[in-house]
Amino acid sequence: MTDQKTPAIASDREPILLTKKDFVSDVDPRWCPGCGDYSILAQAQKAMPEFGYARENIVFISGIGCSGRFPYYMNTFGFHSIHGRAPTLATGLKASRPELMVWVITGDGDALSIGGNHILHSMRKNVDIKVVMFNNRIYGLTKGQVSPTSDYGQKTKTTPGGSINYPIHPLVVALAAEASFVARSVDTFPDHLQETITRAGKHKGSTFVEVLQNCNIFNDGAHREFTDRDVRDDRMIFLRHGEPMIFGKDRDRGIRLNGVRPEVVRLGNGITEEDLLVHDETSEDPTIHFMLARIYWPEFPVPVGVIRNVTRTTHDALLQGQVDDAIRREGRGDLRAALGGGETWTVER
């Protein structure tokens, strides 16, 4: 019964004109003062009116961690689930209610440690959910234990002698899992963050956004070395589709390929923009996208922006397509016929 009684969806209603404050719920955020999560919340609330969805058709689903509280503060439908499993609920919801817009809010521990399997499979199935992962490289809610993105050698409450593990690169995982949209932004870059969230929301398919987020209590300054106002232009590269990969305060440096390796070069002395890589987020071949997901400060500037953005039919559309096809082919199911299927016989009175 695809005609299940569900309320009107956005497209059935008058164009919806909402503003940021329509998305502010009546619950006051309870993150530590100065936490990067406040900025992410504000930018998300600002981005929401862009999508044309009524509030009731937007759902935020989270796991456990400081990021997990996010849905309480959004005046939409929300589900604060259990540790690492938000993508599973989101998948079931989206698969059965394709008309809804479904977001997953998660953190580095939630997405890449306990919930790693679900990130892999929701991304590869191209489920049309938008995953926003707050990466503060620490377990904040449980007060400061090592996370899968913590640095090698990082001292935390559970690694007093320094972490002996190498950090995972979240965007490399997302690409390996075949996410159709992969991007990175930073909590302290409001415009960039809002734009990135807006583009993520408009993408149809599995979407993975890493937001570099500061936990000022347990891992203060984790990204500061390259995100601070006075160094960011020299230590980060803002990717733009179709544009050469140039960075630097004076826009005097760029990234080119030397054989199969990326290298940073200074423009001039015979090196021109022509020699640089040109960003192509829509390339089916992910080789350069992997490279961008992997390079990092201090060897390279840290790329931010949309790394990959390819079009593929979504999981929910394919699933619904099979249902519609079956109905077209066989007609709407007849319960009496299904119950009486196979060989039958009759016992008379």
Partner: protein, 624 residues
Amino acid sequence: MSTTEPTTESTTEHEIAIQELDRVTVRFAGDSGDGMQVTGSQFSQSTAVFGNDISTLPDYPAEIRAPAGSLPGVSGFQISFSSSPIYTPGDAPDVLVAMNPAALKRNVGDLVPGGAIIVNSDAFTPNNLAKAGYASNPLEDGSLKEYNVHEIPVTTLNARALEGLDMTAKQVDLTKNFFALGVMFWLFERSMEPTLAWLEEKYAKRPIFIEANKRALMAGYAFGETTEIFHTHYRVAPAKLRPGTYRNITGNEATALGFLTASQLAERNLFYSSYPITPASEILQQLSLYKNFGVKTFQAEDEIAAIGAAIGASYGGGLGLTGTSGPGMALKTEMVGLAVITELPLVIVDVQRAGPSTGMPTKTEQGDLFQALYGRNSDAPVPVVAPASPAECFDYAVEAWRLAIRHMTPVIYLSDSFLATGSEPWRIPELDELPDLKVANRTDPQGFYPYMRDPETLARPWAVPGTPGLEHRIGGLEKLDVLGSVSYDPDNHHRMSMLRAEKVARIANDIPPLEVFGPPEGDLLILGWGSTYGAIRSAVERLQGRGTSIAHAHLRYLNPFPANTGDVVRAYRKVLVPEVNMGQLLFVIRGTYLVDAVGFNLVRGKPFQISEIQMKAEQLLGDL
């Protein structure tokens, strides 16, 4: 074979005695490549269509690719059929069809004394005998003399019947099970029609296989008719079943149909999300065929994702369903708790199998009752239902959903391997006999709070995304009563714990009382649950015929128990609780009702035999 009334009839060719039997149990056994499951189910189908009451039990080898001809590679299928109602696939077979020495060796010990054995004598080669561990050929060394052995060179005769067909020797050999089936059809006067129709459908695209199997089947039938190795054939008259239209059905098929039916009755889309696991996988396979009913199936990346996606679907207003076996239940535990605290409807199917950890995946057990009742952190009450026979799986699949959506709660549905793979006739219900499962979503924002409750059931409203004005947040953190915001208030947590318990307890008002078969009070009550039904009922029927004071009650609701359960168990001098586990229901009954019930527990991966329960009951009655 019970109750013989020999008569003699003149048939066309030569004189053959016809023996009227009340009940016969046949076991087909062969190598796992010999097609014994198909043979058994075709025989069952014809027997059911003929009008006998039947009950079947397949016995799969644990290893998919055990070496051909070896003992672990033996596959079996048992069917019991009768002219009166029966409840089990029979204790000991009367007839054994053994396609090779390994099949004979594995099964002969189970046969009734004097039972009939039909063997494919071609398979008794020195090589096969050695693989089965026979030092000498049992067909020649006299070790089978207490049985009635019929040797048929099935391979040779079958190859001859298929001569001239454009098939490889190997393909020809694969049809020999149908030769054996033909012999059995003749022996028990079954019609070949259902099987012929099935062949036409199954091999519609490969006519040569229709022809080959048809020839094999008819050659076997003709062999029975024209040779003299059988001096008798057998007649089991149709049973007097309740009037109606019937089909033969396995527990897993009935389960899947029940869920499909629930979704149609509730007018909500079914979303079945599961991870492959024996013996539950067939439910996923079958439900994936109902797409034109709007059913969506999802094979998840793991057991946790499977239940998570189902919760997501229920949150969205659909019927979120997940199915697994014991090991998968263990993984789903935390998610069941989430469904408890978010008070969302959800059905979790556990088709139980034997043993802790991986255990014995293809064998049956009732070991997950504690897990279903208590296997969660903190107090997280969940209603539990359990069908008692393959056909009943349909009713309780519908019932599980009725409870889930009416009471806004996850419900655990406990089947087991014996029910899942066993079959029996099922009277197809008329649509107007089925319950109404329609409940409305909350749509009115006026006065809406996520944890407001129905005064009768204590169910909270189903407020699904997409409903204007109902935007709200739920989740795994404790909720403030009524308002549904996050709350750490100590008294509120106590109140919410009480409410969750009371909500489930009140389901006792919404389910039928526990029925008693036999005297309402007396010496002995046998109390069972799940798939032990057939063996208990048969044993009790036998003992009641002998003037004992014995009754049977069978629980289909394990949480909450029917309201009269305490009165029932206190009305007898002794209560016996047979279970295929170490005494789980026993523990709950003793703890709940303070009665000195005793257990009878055999955990062998096999269902109880009627005689075992009968002996135990006799022993208890004797001690009185």
